[in-house]
């Protein structure tokens, strides 16, 4: 049964050796992903969502980084594999769309070259075929006049166009899993809508699975089937998108949902805030990392770390000693 899963992540932990000591950016994360499914990873900055998404595909920094646990992409164990071994799946099995199209494209290389490079190196295409395919890809991601754009430099394109190019590069070798790390964060709302629609459409067309990493709950709400909520490097709640939005049990999930302003709210609606600041990862308490900011925290929360435990709905789990009642949906606006 588990063979059917495209991605199996088990007990994945990423630690950086820093000047201030060991910093565990991702701690004991486990989840899985079906084929042709879209999963959202949600968290604030420093929650470890970006590090997690990179560790899953083995793309963490090469120096001063330790990874333990397991991440299996379509039968390939990423953790412990050498860079050379991982190169056999990068691009062809799993590819990544980065947050900032400004910095994720090589500024001094024509965009066409950046697309067909993967085709030639990984798929062994000749120059001519690769160019033809690259132009096809540019067309696929909705870039007008792709033949001319093929020889443009990234600096000559707008932000939205650049992000389309980044997507074209990621799709070049037809990966089964697409990791999208904040793919729309730097973009304007109208462009964001275009890009999200494009990703949705391509996912259906190319039968991919997508992991959507974002801080924006609005992005994951309607585009994913399941969600993982992260805080201080750990999963604090996971379940179907509806369960996480309507039946969340973890106070942090609720606080996150309530603290962001909504377009549908009347102006001057008082926002619910989470007191305090995100924790210092170098100096975590032995208990729940959210406890210092949590209104429900008890002594146990400060001393003992809660593990993920199942809620009533299938696949819904949360890590909390004092979870919200099961009918928590009443608190959602």
């Amino acid at each position: 049964m588990s063979d059917d899963k495209l991605l199996l992540v088990k007990d994945l932990t990423t630690t950086f050796a820093t000047a201030g000591g060991d910093l565990t950016a991702v701690a004991h994360v486990s989840f899985d992903l079906d084929r042709n499914e879209t999963l959202g990873i949600v968290g604030e900055s420093g929650s470890g969502k970006t590090v997690l998404s990179r560790t899953i595909m083995g793309l963490q920094p090469r120096v001063n980084t330790t990874v333990t646990g397991s991440s299996v992409i379509d039968g390939f164990e990423v953790v412990g594999a050498s860079e050379k071994e991982k190169r056999t799946i990068w691009g062809t099995e799993v590819a990544m769309v980065f947050q900032d199209p400004m910095t994720s494209l090589n500024p001094v290389m024509r965009i066409g070259k950046q697309i067909d490079e993967g085709l030639r190196v990984r798929l062994g295409m000749n120059r001519k075929d690769a160019k033809a395919r690259a132009i096809e890809l540019l067309e696929l991601v909705g870039i007008p006049s792709p033949v001319e754009r093929y020889s443009a430099y990234p600096g000559q394109l707008s932000g939205g166009m650049r992000q389309r190019v980044v997507i074209a590069i990621a799709l070049a070798c037809s990966p089964k899993l697409l990791m999208a790390d904040e793919p729309t964060t730097g973009l304007d709302v109208t462009i964001q809508a275009q890009i999200l629609n494009l990703l949705d459409e391509l996912k259906e067309r190319l039968k991919m699975s997508v992991i959507l990493v974002t801080h924006d709950l609005g992005v994951v709400a309607t585009r994913t089937s399941r969600i993982v909520v992260m805080y201080a490097g750990r999963i604090v709640e996971t379940g179907t998108t509806r369960d996480v939005f309507y039946h969340h049990r973890m106070p942090y999930t609720r606080a996150l949902l309530e603290s962001s302003p909504k377009v549908s709210n009347e102006s001057h609606t008082r926002l619910v805030t989470i007191p305090g600041r995100p924790p210092n990862l170098l100096n975590l308490s032995p208990g729940c990392s959210f406890a210092p900011r949590c209104t429900y925290a008890t002594d146990q929360c400060h001393t003992e770390r809660p593990e993920l435990q199942p809620s009533v709905e299938p696949g819904h789990a949360f890590a909390c000693w004092n979870p919200l009642p099961v009918n928590a949906e009443a608190t959602l606006p």
């Binding site: 604030e44 709302v189 629609n197 609005g218 509806r242 949902l257 377009v263 001057h268 600041r277 606006p333």
Partner: protein, 333 residues
């Protein structure tokens, strides 16, 4: 909100032109609006629409090429030297990047005291007391943090310090330029609430510039929407959001993502990208992307017309205003 009808700030026909490689780029192309005492005007638009430039031109951080800015009846565009510097203290500005808006090599106390030291209005004990008060007001303990260097603070704390500094001279008008867009949601909510509290306490008037529609609605009494250097619509926040009259506003609102899995995915997405401000379209600047555009839109620039009380729109074919009865579904305070 019942704002008294004396404009604190009137902006008439403001234009800002930059020169890039000998080409004139009209970043702000004839903007007029008024801000009444005690209200918050939200200025929203996508990147490059000139909203930030407008804010900076009001303070004359960038020089307007045309138009007038009157603060309490005094024309700021005519002032220079000491009079200009003094006029600036009656308006204050808070910037997007909280970390770069504080000098990393100065102590927090000195940063907050900067305006007082510039003008020598208060000195000695009185000065220290005032600084301590301000810091406490924004939630920074002056006895613990006052002597620390700015470089040791997180983004949210830096933004608090910026706010304290901006209040030192008791300004009338506060211009907030994307002040929460670099912050995490949980911190963003804290800062927005703090801003509302301080606005009431200090009797401030706000110009709130941001790209996030939900945030703008949350703080504003009235909202102005900018597109390519011009204001296309301005009106009371709640009615403008509920029933936009300009097609661009409608697209913008349609693209805003709600953190709710049940919200419909808006199929009608604004296509294309804004034209270059170096070579703006004739007539209505939005016509190149507007589904309703006709020849008239290319020939004739639409002038602002009132479609509802205090609700102005610059469009030849405004959408019909309909007032739904608003039933707020907010269940908590």
């Amino acid at each position: 909100m019942n704002a008294p009808r004396t404009p604190l700030l009137s902006v008439t026909d403001l234009e800002v032109t930059f020169h890039v490689h000998g080409h004139a780029v009209s970043a702000v192309a004839g903007v007029s609006f008024e801000i009444y005492e005690g209200e918050t005007l939200g200025l929203v638009g996508e990147s490059g629409c000139g909203k930030s430039t407008t804010g900076k031109a009001l303070m004359r951080i960038v020089e307007p090429s045309k138009g007038t800015v009157e603060l309490e009846g005094v024309n700021i565009t005519k002032e220079s030297g000491k009079a200009l510097r003094s006029a600036r203290t009656r308006m204050q500005m808070i910037f997007q990047d909280p970390i770069s808006s504080l000098n990393p090599r100065r102590r927090v106390k000195d940063i907050v005291a900067e305006p007082l030291d510039c003008w020598k209005t208060v000195t000695g004990v009185e000065r220290d007391k005032l600084i301590s008060d301000l810091l406490s007001k924004v939630g920074i303990d002056p006895s613990v943090y006052g002597n620390r260097y700015a470089r040791q603070f997180s983004g949210g704390q830096c933004q608090r310090i910026s706010i304290a500094r901006s209040l030192a001279m008791r300004p009338k008008l506060l211009i907030c330029d994307e002040m929460v867009s670099a912050l995490d949601v949980s911190v963003q909510a804290q800062i927005l609430n703090l801003l509302e509290d301080l606005k009431a306490e200090y009797g401030l008037t706000l110009l709130f510039i941001a790209h996030d529609l939900a945030v703008v609605k949350n703080v504003s009494d009235r909202v102005a929407v900018m597109y390519l250097g011009k204001i296309c619509e301005i009106g009371p926040a709640d009615t403008l959001y509920e029933s936009p009259a300009h097609p661009y506003t409608e697209f913008l609102l349609g693209a805003a993502l709600e953190a709710d899995p049940d919200s419909p995915i808006n199929a009608q997405v604004l296509q294309g990208e804004p034209p270059s401000p170096m070579n703006p379209p004739s007539g209505c600047r939005f016509r190149t992307r507007c589904p309703n555009a006709t020849q008239r839109c290319a020939d004739e620039e639409p002038l602002p017309q009132e479609v509802a009380p205090n609700h102005m729109v610059s469009c030849h074919y405004p959408l019909t205003i309909h007032h739904k009865s608003t039933t707020p579904t907010v269940l908590e305070g």
